[in-house]
Structures are given as structure tokens and as C-alpha cells.
Symmetry: C2
Subunit: 143 residues, 2 copies
């Protein structure tokens, strides 16, 4: 049952993000694009590096990059240090969308802090953080 307990807040965050994105006119942003903007975001990273981090194939990433480039959220430009490679650059529009998403998350956090009380909410965050660190220690991230 802990699975549901954890899953539900994630859903709430996602819903809030899309609600706010929609309100701010980012109606072309798709749920599938979210994965790309997970912390710390795609700015100034190489596609293959990002694909590895996100645990999807280079092709799948490229497919999403193509959409997001066409929508004007980011650009793929040649890597100056490696003739083979590209680097992803988040555009102004992309940064604006990120701000909206971060704002939505902040909003949720404030609401939760208010409902739980700020010290209990701080506890929750600390507990989740240590849990992350503990399990991250046991499961070395893909290199």
C-alpha cells in the first residue's frame, strides 16, 4: 500500500504542473516531454549522455528532442569540442516553461506545508531525502 501512498503525490504534482503550463499558454507541452525536464534539466548536455541518464535509448530521446525543438523549447547545436556530437540548449521559451513548472511545484509544496504544518512538512522532506540517499548508495546509478 506504500506504493499508492507514494504514487499519489507524484500524480498531484504532475497534474498541477500541466494545469499551470496550460494556463500560461504552453498547451503544446506533452506529458511525454516531462521526462526530459527532470532535474537537473537538459541544458548544455549531450543527447547520448542525457539518454543514459534518463534510461531511454538515444533514438527515443532524439524523437522527443525533435518535437521539443520544433515547438521551440530547445535547440540541438553542434558541440564545439567534438565534431560528432551535439549539445542541447534550452531556449528562452523553454526556460519560461521550466519556471512555470518549478512554480507549480513550489505551489504544491506551500499547500502541503500549510496543511501538514511547516515542521511536519520539513520532516517529510528530510525523510524522503535520506531515503533517497540511502537507496542511491545501495543502487549505484548507471554510469
Amino acid at each position: 500500500m506504500i506504493g499508492a501512498l507514494l504514487r499519489m503525490p507524484v500524480d498531484v504534482v504532475h497534474r498541477q504542473m500541466f494545469e499551470r503550463l496550460h494556463e500560461h499558454g504552453f498547451t503544446d507541452f506533452d506529458p511525454a516531454h516531462l521526462i526530459l525536464f527532470q532535474w537537473p534539466g537538459p541544458d548544455d548536455t549531450r543527447p547520448s549522455e542525457l539518454a543514459a541518464r534518463l534510461q531511454i535509448s538515444k533514438q527515443a530521446l532524439n524523437y522527443l528532442l525533435g518535437q521539443l525543438e520544433q515547438l521551440g523549447y530547445l535547440e540541438r547545436r553542434p558541440d564545439p569540442h567534438d565534431q560528432r556530437g551535439k549539445r542541447i540548449t534550452v531556449t528562452k521559451r523553454g526556460r519560461a516553461a521550466i519556471r512555470v513548472m518549478r512554480g507549480a511545484v513550489d505551489e504544491i509544496e506551500r499547500a502541503w506545508a500549510e496543511q501538514l504544518g511547516s515542521e511536519r512538512f520539513a520532516q517529510l522532506k528530510t525523510l524522503l531525502l535520506t531515503l533517497n540517499q540511502l537507496t542511491a548508495a545501495r543502487e549505484p546509478a548507471a554510469e
Copy 2:
């Protein structure tokens, strides 16, 4: 960043479940099937009711039910009280798989309780639970 904090434990639970399922010979169980076995499980429910609960279309559910029936995890039998309807019945094999999944979750919970200390883990669960209740109150579940 709270998104990542919440998402990661969910992933850990899923990975553990599939590891254990695999070890117990349920190698044909697919990640897509997981949604069907979310609490409280599909046993003795009608397909359309379950589809509504899971927020997917009746057709999508039926597609998954077909697979799981073929794999012997459950059966669709006519509803005795309604000639139109069916009822889902979890088979012996299905119940065995559920036991393995629940066991995997228990295992994770014990590990976390050990790492965080049992009273801090209890705190975490309580906090998540109240968070769920609070947000559930604000967002009435689909009827």
C-alpha cells in the same frame, strides 16, 4: 525536486517487485500489468468498474485482461446477476503472484524501517498517509 524524491522510492518498489516475481518464475508478468493489481486488486470486480477506477478506457483494460487471462492470472466469467456483464476472478496463480508482490513490498518496507529507524519510518508513513487524505479530500475521486 520533491518530484524526484517521491518518484525514486516508487521505482525502487517496482524494481524489487519484478525482481522477486522473476525469481519466483513469473517471468511473463509485464510492467504494464502492474496497474491492474493496484490495491485493492481486480478480484470480483466488473471490468467497466475497474477501468473507471484505474482511469483507463474499457478497451485498454480489456486488452490487458486478455493477456492476463491467457497467462492464467485471472479469468473473466459472466456475472450471474447481469447477463451483460462479466466479473474478474483472480486465479490461484494470480493470487500467488500477488503474494510475491506483497512480499516484495514488505521486504522494502522492512529495509527502509531498518535504515531510517522504525519510528522515523512510521513517521514517514503517517505523513504520507495524511497527505493522501488531505489531497483526496480536495480532489474527489472520479465517480
